[in-house]
Symmetry: D3
Subunit: 72 residues, 6 copies
Amino acid sequence: MSIQSINVRNQFRGRVREIIEGPVVSEVEVETPSGLVVSSVITTRSVKELGLAPGREVIALVKASEVAIAAL
Amino acid sequence: MSIQSINVRNQFRGRVREIIEGPVVSEVEVETPSGLVVSSVITTRSVKELGLAPGREVIALVKASEVAIAAL
Amino acid sequence: MSIQSINVRNQFRGRVREIIEGPVVSEVEVETPSGLVVSSVITTRSVKELGLAPGREVIALVKASEVAIAAL
Amino acid sequence: MSIQSINVRNQFRGRVREIIEGPVVSEVEVETPSGLVVSSVITTRSVKELGLAPGREVIALVKASEVAIAAL
Amino acid sequence: MSIQSINVRNQFRGRVREIIEGPVVSEVEVETPSGLVVSSVITTRSVKELGLAPGREVIALVKASEVAIAAL
Amino acid sequence: MSIQSINVRNQFRGRVREIIEGPVVSEVEVETPSGLVVSSVITTRSVKELGLAPGREVIALVKASEVAIAAL
């Protein structure tokens, strides 16, 4: 599943694993079914408005221009 | 495996699936072993300097502050 | 109206005014009802997948961490 | 009015409506004359150096590459 | 010298060394007096509106939240 | 010296000058040999995982698409 109406190419669906809440921003960790963990920093206001909590199903989104590449 | 010395929390290891090359920037698609596709836009200079081509093993990196969250 | 399920605080609803299409990325200008113009650079693939064209109703989204402030 | 010498295409002029101050970063809300609210997360050091406070006239700036588009 | 009214902490003053112009975005290389080269991708419209050309004095600006750190 | 395998064009080598630690994110200031100061906001988790402290040698990295240009 994905948010089809948005241009953001990178969408990682999973569940919230952990939230570290700060006064202004919080770190939200999302785990996908395949075990991939995606870490996000968003405003604590957004955490509350979205009702985020461990176990909550979410999609992590990243614009392609924000992705760097390292060669191995 | 990961680049352990960098602070970027989100590292997706995979192989280059496709490159759409433009005069200034190019779109690079990376596919992870679990089938996840991560899309990146980087300078075409970097594509050449890194010697990127389909099949090449790479890591896609994203800063946590660039990741948005959508609730389902 | 807004996309309520996403954490992105800044949502500007409007219509596509102009698209400058390039081989990899395109510039999309969105005009809000109050006359504000928001400019976006996204992949040309996304422009096509979303079926963007002048007059199309869209929402421009910006993460709060991407907004700089200048004092007057 | 705008900062004409900068390449940032998206400039939203308004007044600071609210500041949520944290130890490292703060959230600054800017309201434009047409009632649009733009939210920004910047360092608390910058908040102090710029002398930001509710009512202060500011410009919120966003690079076009940071703007995502959702179709309605 | 710097743009004192903006919150962007990282300001690198220098001269344009090279511009690679594309149909939508261009790469602009800025060289500081100490020989540091900063590379920027901005819209080609902005390149034209700012009248950028090799030798032109400019400031490259980066928000602190966009800077990653690698340990050596 | 630089991290040659990564596409990030802008790499500023230096030493950590100061760290302002917050509960979720921290501000890290890096000073280059030529006296340039680069400011970064990263997660406090990363600060700890990388073992960052004043005097530590690091590289500050910035994607070219995150760099804005102001004309003088």
